[in-house]
C-alpha cells in the first residue's frame, strides 16, 4: 500500500500538469468522503442496533419456540404474546418493581454522589487517596458485587447483621429473605454500586465551574447553601442531565445484580422487567413473550430519551 501510493503520485503529476478542478466534482467528492467516514458507523448501527431492534419487535408478534431454531418457521400470532404478557399478574408486579428500583436507585446514587463530589472538591489531606478508594465499587464486576453482598446480607451468618447485632439494633433483619425487605435491599446495593459513577461525573462538573463565581457570591454575602443552590446547581445542570440519563439507562434494564442477589425472589418480590425477559426467553424458552417484555423496556427508555433530547434542545436555544 505505501509503495503504490508513492508510485501513483509521480506519474499522475507529470501527465496532467494543469487541469482545472471542476467545482461540482469537488463538492461531490467531498460529500463522498464525508459519507465514507460516516459509513462504518451507519453500517455498525444498522447491523448491531437496527437489526436486533426490528427483529425483537417482529418476534413479539410471532410464536417463537425452540422448534423455530430448527425449522426457521415462526408463525405470526397477532397480539397473542402481548395480551398473554399483559394479563400475567407478574408483569404488573415486575413493572412496578422496575419503576421503584429505578427511581430509588437514581435518587440514592445521585444525592450521595453529589454530596461526596461537593465534599471532595475542597482541598484536604488524603483527598486523592480517599477519592480513589470510593471508586472501588465501580471496578468490581456486577455479578461479583452481587455474590459478595448476598453473603454480607445473609440473615443469620451475614456480616451486616452481626455488626448490627453488636450495636444492639436490628440484628436479625431479613435483608434478602423477606418479600417486604428484598426490593429495598437490592436498591441499597445498587446505590452502593452507582455512587462512584455519579461522584466522578459530578466532581468533573464541579471542577468546570469558574472559581470567580463562588468568589463573587461570597462577596455578595451569600451563605454556603445559597451559593450551592444559586450558583453551583444551575452551573451543574448539563452534567446532572447526563448523569441521570445514563444512570436511568443502566438501571432500568437491571438483570445481573438481581439474579446474583435474589434470583427474582423471594416469592417474585424482586422480579423486574429485566429478570422477566430473561425468565421468559431463557428459562421458559418462550421467546415471543420475552420479546414483548423487552419491547416494553425499549419503549420506556425511548420515552425517557425523547424527554432528554427535548430538554437539551430548549437548553441550546
Amino acid at each position: 500500500m505505501p509503495t503504490s501510493t508513492v508510485g501513483a503520485q509521480t506519474p499522475a503529476k507529470a501527465s496532467e500538469p494543469a487541469s482545472a478542478p471542476d467545482p461540482a466534482r469537488i463538492a461531490r467528492r467531498r460529500r463522498l468522503t464525508q459519507w465514507g467516514f460516516v459509513a462504518p458507523a451507519v453500517v455498525f448501527m444498522l447491523l448491531f442496533f437496527g437489526y436486533p431492534l426490528v427483529r425483537n419487535v417482529v418476534m413479539s408478534f410471532q410464536d417463537y419456540t425452540p422448534k423455530t431454531f430448527f425449522t426457521g418457521e415462526a408463525p405470526f400470532n397477532g397480539a397473542d404474546n402481548w395480551s398473554n404478557v399483559f394479563q400475567d399478574a407478574l408483569f404488573g408486579k415486575a413493572l412496578w418493581h422496575t419503576l421503584v428500583f429505578t427511581a430509588g436507585s437514581l435518587l440514592g446514587q445521585f444525592c450521595i454522589g453529589l454530596a461526596l463530589a461537593v465534599f471532595f472538591s475542597r482541598r484536604f489531606p488524603l483527598n486523592g487517596v480517599l477519592r480513589s478508594l470510593i471508586l472501588l465499587p465501580w471496578l468490581v464486576p456486577m455479578v461479583v458485587s452481587g455474590i459478595v453482598w448476598r453473603r454480607i446480607l445473609d440473615q443469620d451468618t451475614g456480616v451486616l447483621n452481626s455488626f448490627l447485632d453488636t450495636l444492639g439494633i436490628g440484628g436479625h433483619t431479613p435483608w434478602l429473605t423477606s418479600p417486604e425487605m428484598a426490593l429495598l435491599s437490592v436498591i441499597l446495593v445498587n446505590i452502593w454500586i452507582g455512587i462512584p459513577f455519579n461522584m466522578v461525573i459530578l466532581y468533573g462538573g464541579l471542577q468546570e465551574i469558574p472559581k470567580e463565581l463562588h468568589e463573587a457570591a461570597a462577596l455578595d454575602g451569600a451563605s454556603a447553601w445559597r451559593t450551592f443552590r444559586s450558583v453551583t446547581l444551575p452551573m451543574l445542570r448539563p452534567v446532572v442531565t447526563v448523569v441521570l440519563v445514563l444512570g436511568f439507562m443502566s438501571t432500568v434494564k437491571i438483570l445481573d445484580l438481581i439474579l446474583a442477589l435474589t434470583d427474582g425472589g423471594p416469592a417474585d418480590a424482586t422480579q423486574t422487567l429485566g429478570t422477566l425477559t430473561y425468565q421468559n426467553s431463557f428459562v421458559q424458552l418462550d421467546f415471543g413473550a420475552g420479546a414483548v417484555v423487552g419491547n416494553v423496556l425499549i419503549l420506556i427508555s425511548a420515552v425517557f430519551a425523547v424527554f432528554y433530547l427535548r430538554a437539551n434542545r430548549t437548553e441550546g436555544k
Partner: protein, 428 residues
C-alpha cells in the same frame, strides 16, 4: 497503518492540486468502507462453521476443573479406540440449551451435546435429536427408570453415564453429641432437627431458592407424600409444603433458606451452621476436602414409616443432535456408546461420586464405595422430573418456586399452591 494516516494529514495542504486530494481521499475512503464490509462479513460468517472430518465435538457443562479433566481423559480414551479426535467444549450449565438452539439455527451443532436430563425433552420436542437406538446403542443392563430418564415420548434420545439424586447428609459428631439417631420419618426428622438446633446451629439446611435448585429439593417431599406436579394444589402437595413451613416455624431451618442454592447449603453444612442437610453426591468432593468433618448419608426421611423415599433423578444425558450428516451421526453414536460403556461409567462414577446408570457397573460401584449405598438404593426408586410433563416442566417449575417462597415467607400453603396451579395451567 501509520502511512495511511500520514496521507490523510497531507490532504489538508491547500496548494497541492485538487486531483491529488481526490486520489488520496479515495484511498482514505476505501479502507473505511473495507472495514465496514469486513465487520458485516465477519458478523455473517461467524454463523457458519466448517467441520473437520476426523474431529468430533462434544458440548457439555463440565466447567469445573476436575469434571473437565475427567471428561477429557474419557474422551481421549474413546477417541483412541475409535480412531478420531474428540474435542470438549464446556459452557456453563445454564447456557447449554440456549447455545445449542443458537447453533441449531446456524447449522453448526456439535456432534454430541450433554444436556441436563430435565432439558433434553425440550430439545427433543423441537426435533433436534437422533434416536440413539437407530445409531446402534443398546439399553440392555440399564434399569427401566434410567432408560425412561433418557427418553422422550418413548424414544431413547439420551444415554446417561451416571445419575444422582438427593439424600440426607448428616454431621456424625453433632448427632453423637446430641445423642440422636439418624431420622427416617418426617416426625423423626422434625424432632431430631429441633434437638440439633441451638445457638447459631440449625438442625437442617435445604435450598428453597428461586431457581431449579429449590424445586429439585422440594420434589422428594412432594413425591414421597404422594403429591404430583400435575396437581400442584392437591392436598398431598399442600401437606408437604406445610411440613417445610413447620420446620421453619420450629426454627430448625434458617430463614435464609429461601435465598440459598444447593452450594450455599453445602457451605453452611461444612461451616457447622447446620447439623443435617438435603443435598446430592456432587458435593462429596468438596465435603471430603475437610478431613475434620465426619459426615454420613441416609435416604431422605419419608412421611410415614414404610413409605418409599422418592427422590428426583438428576444428571446429564449424552445426546446426538440432528445435523443431517448421517455418517457423522453414526460415529457420534459410537462415541456416546463408548463414553457410556460399563467401563467408562464406572470410572466416571468413582470420580464424581455419582451412581453409574448401568446396572452391572452400579453393582461394582456399590462394592467400591459402600458408604454411598443408600444413594444407590434411592436412585433405584428415584423419579424423573420431566417424565409426566416433558417440555412443560419449566413453567410448572417456575410456578412452584414462587409458591414455596410465598408460603415460606408467610402466605398459606394452600393459597400459594392454588395460584401456582393457575399459573402453570394458564402458562403465565
Amino acid at each position: 497503518m501509520s502511512k495511511r494516516f500520514t496521507s490523510l494529514a497531507l490532504t489538508a495542504h491547500p496548494p497541492a492540486a485538487a486531483r491529488r486530494g481526490r486520489g488520496r481521499s479515495r484511498r482514505v475512503v476505501a479502507p473505511f468502507t473495507a472495514v465496514s464490509v469486513l465487520v458485516a462479513g465477519a458478523a455473517l460468517a461467524g454463523c457458519g462453521q466448517q467441520r473437520d472430518a476426523d474431529t468430533y465435538t462434544v458440548m457439555n457443562s463440565s466447567t469445573d476443573e476436575s469434571y473437565h479433566r475427567w471428561d477429557a481423559e474419557a474422551m481421549a480414551r474413546c477417541g483412541k479406540e475409535l480412531g478420531v479426535t474428540i474435542e470438549q467444549q464446556s459452557v456453563p450449565a445454564a447456557q447449554v440449551m440456549t447455545k445449542a438452539l443458537r447453533m441449531a439455527s446456524s447449522k453448526s451443532l456439535p456432534d454430541i451435546v450433554q444436556f441436563d436430563a430435565s432439558e433434553m425433552p425440550t430439545f427433543a420436542d423441537a426435533g433436534g435429536l437422533v434416536d440413539l437406538r437407530t445409531l446402534g446403542l443398546s439399553t440392555d443392563d440399564i434399569p427401566d427408570g434410567i432408560v425412561d430418564f433418557g427418553s422422550y415420548k418413548g424414544t431413547y434420545y439420551g444415554a446417561a453415564r451416571s445419575v444422582n439424586t438427593l439424600a440426607l447428609f448428616y454431621n456424625k459428631d453433632l448427632l453423637d453429641q446430641a445423642g440422636v439417631e439418624v431420622p427416617t420419618t418426617w416426625a423423626e426428622l422434625r424432632a431430631t432437627a429441633q434437638k440439633l438446633t441451638r445457638g447459631k446451629q440449625y438442625g437442617l439446611a435445604l435450598s428453597a431458592g428461586g431457581a431449579e435448585d429449590g424445586v429439585f429439593q422440594f420434589t422428594p417431599f412432594m413425591w414421597s407424600n404422594g403429591g404430583d406436579e400435575t396437581d400442584l394444589d392437591g392436598p398431598k402437595v399442600v401437606e408437604a409444603l406445610d411440613y417445610w413451613k413447620g420446620l421453619l416455624k420450629d426454627r430448625s431451618l434458617s430463614k435464609s433458606t429461601v435465598n440459598w442454592t444447593q452450594a450455599d447449603v453445602n457451605d453452611q453444612f461444612m461451616a457447622g451452621n447446620a447439623a443435617m442437610m438435603i443435598n446430592g453426591p456432587w458435593q462429596v468432593e468438596t465435603l471430603n476436602s475437610d478431613t475434620s468433618l465426619h459426615w454420613g448419608i441416609a435416604p431422605i426421611p419419608v412421611p410415614r414409616a414404610g413409605d418409599d423415599s422418592v427422590g428426583p433423578l438428576g444428571g446429564a444425558v449424552l445426546t446426538v443432535p440432528n445435523t443431517g450428516d448421517e455418517a457423522r451421526e453414526k460415529t457420534a453414536g459410537k462415541i456416546v456408546a463408548c463414553l457410556a460403556s460399563e467401563k467408562e461409567q464406572l470410572t466416571y462414577a468413582l470420580n464424581s461420586w455419582m451412581v453409574p446408570a448401568n446396572a452391572k457397573a452400579a453393582a461394582v460401584w456399590r462394592e467400591k464405595v459402600p458408604e454411598l449405598d443408600s444413594l444407590a438404593d434411592q436412585v433405584a426408586v428415584a423419579r424423573s422430573r420431566t417424565a409426566k410433563l416433558g417440555a412443560g416442566w419449566s413453567s410448572v417449575s417456575l410456578a412452584l418456586q414462587s409458591a414455596f417462597q410465598s408460603a415460606l415467607t408467610g402466605q398459606s400453603s394452600e393459597t400459594a399452591l392454588k395460584r401456582a396451579q393457575q399459573r402453570a395451567t394458564s402458562g403465565n
